[in-house]
């Protein structure tokens, strides 16, 4: 990371940049993974500054929120508004995918509410020891894995999807050292959906013998639509 970019990340996280500069950083961070990670780091470090001294809000505040939620129900905003999140999970994951050398998604990732054809879904799985695995899923039951950083030792990485019931389902072992393409069974296709959690565990050759992760879970992340 160049010092300049680290400064830029700090300036952006604090809010020192004027609106045009901030917009430019935001756009760049979508494709520049180290920059978006530095922004996340600075946010993490800075946020305790704001949080000095808890003050119990008056009771009627929650009632006000409930009233506004009711009014909000018919607004269509909820589903799509997450796309506007400044440096959200989406842009970071998209940035990381681009960074580790996968073809970037065909649509610009900052398309807001007018996405016509389904764009691929992606997840950046991260965790222990800086593990990084990018996952790209289409709507036809195919997915690709691309390890950015993974140290499986003598074991083999296995991909899992964890649906709402919390029970991991195996998607098979994948190549720890390069990109690979896979398909899922028709029954599993509905699990390859936006918002699902994915995890990578390290297993013996051939994958987990029990049907559940037996080795350490080294990376997790959520699937999002680009």
């Amino acid at each position: 990371m160049r010092d300049d970019d680290d400064l830029l990340a700090a300036e952006f996280a604090i809010g020192l940049l004027d609106p045009q500069e901030a917009a430019a950083v935001q756009a760049r961070a979508r494709l520049d993974a180290p920059l978006s990670l530095r922004i996340a780091w600075w946010r993490d470090q800075l946020s305790p500054l704001a949080d000095r001294g808890a003050v119990e809000p008056p009771q009627y505040i929650w009632r006000g929120i409930e009233r506004r939620l009711a009014a909000n129900d018919d607004a269509s905003g909820r589903v799509t508004r997450w796309r506007n999140t400044a440096i959200g999970a989406m842009s970071i994951a998209a940035a990381l995918v681009a960074y580790i050398g996968l073809a970037p998604p065909p649509q610009p990732v900052y398309v807001t509410k007018t996405v016509a054809a389904p764009a691929p879904m992606i997840a950046m799985l991260t965790g222990q020891g800086g593990s990084q695995v990018a996952l790209v899923v289409d709507d036809q039951g195919h997915f690709r894995t691309a390890p950015g950083h993974l140290e499986p030792g003598k074991r083999y990485p296995e991909l899992w999807v964890i649906p709402a019931d919390g029970k991991p389902r195996s998607l098979g072992v994948f190549d720890a050292h390069g990109r690979s393409a896979h398909s899922v069974t028709p029954a599993m296709r509905k699990l390859m959906a936006e918002g699902m959690t994915f995890a990578v565990s390290l297993e013996p050759a051939g994958g987990s013998p029990t049907g559940l992760p037996t080795g350490p879970v080294v990376a997790t992340g959520k699937l999002i639509r680009t």
Binding site: Q45, D51, P57, W62, G88, A89, I92, G221
Partner: protein, 201 residues
């Protein structure tokens, strides 16, 4: 004797508070995941767990309760709308909530075109007579390093950083308010940011 007791108390307390913090974090992440699915009871849980903290954030930026309460409500409506974009692998839930709340507060400040014209405290004090290493040691003692690290900056620099953070003031705003040329303010704040980073790392 004194040393040992201190270490003992410190070590045990740290571990316990780390455990409590990670449980709290897990509970909050789980609640946010349910909010993303449209579960109102989960939003109420998030509110119960975090509203005092986030109200504190709002009051720090808007000292008038009326404004602070409006921002607090906006923030939770925003949590409801955006919970789906929270990724526990990427950010701690509390950082996410604090960042979101602060952004709502700053949006409001800017929307109103509220330019606080009060002079920035101690801005001309740039002498730094405290050795950095010592200051960082003090910083390392607390749980949130950032407090100590900002304290460790020269007084004037610390108040510049705080002004930027709490007022949503850009370089240009700060230069105006401090009556210092833009280029000077930029290089001064950048130097302070680098010091801050060294202290935080």
């Amino acid at each position: 004797m004194h040393r040992r007791r201190r270490r003992h108390r410190h070590g045990g307390g740290d571990r316990l508070s780390t455990d409590v913090a990670s449980l709290e974090r897990a509970a909050l992440s789980a609640a946010l995941a349910r909010v993303a699915d449209g579960d109102r009871a989960a939003l109420q849980e998030v509110y119960r767990r975090t509203s005092a903290k986030l109200y504190g954030v709002c009051l720090r930026i808007f000292p008038e309760p009326e404004d602070a309460q409006d921002v607090l409500q906006d923030a939770y409506i925003n949590v409801w709308q955006r919970a789906g974009s929270f990724d526990p692998a990427r950010a701690s839930p509390i950082t996410w909530l604090v960042t979101l709340t602060r952004n709502r507060a700053i949006d409001r400040l800017r929307q109103r075109g509220k330019r606080i014209m009060t002079p920035i405290e101690d801005v001309h004090e740039i002498a730094d007579d405290r050795p950095d290493a010592e200051a960082c040691l003090i910083a390392a003692d607390g749980d949130a390093r950032i407090h100590g690290c900002v304290e460790a900056l020269a007084k004037g620099d610390a108040s510049l950083i705080r002004t930027a953070f709490f007022d949503g003031a850009t370089y240009a705003d700060i230069a105006d308010r401090a009556g210092i040329p833009l280029g000077t303010i930029k290089s001064r704040i950048r130097r302070a940011l680098m010091k801050l980073r060294d202290c935080l790392q």
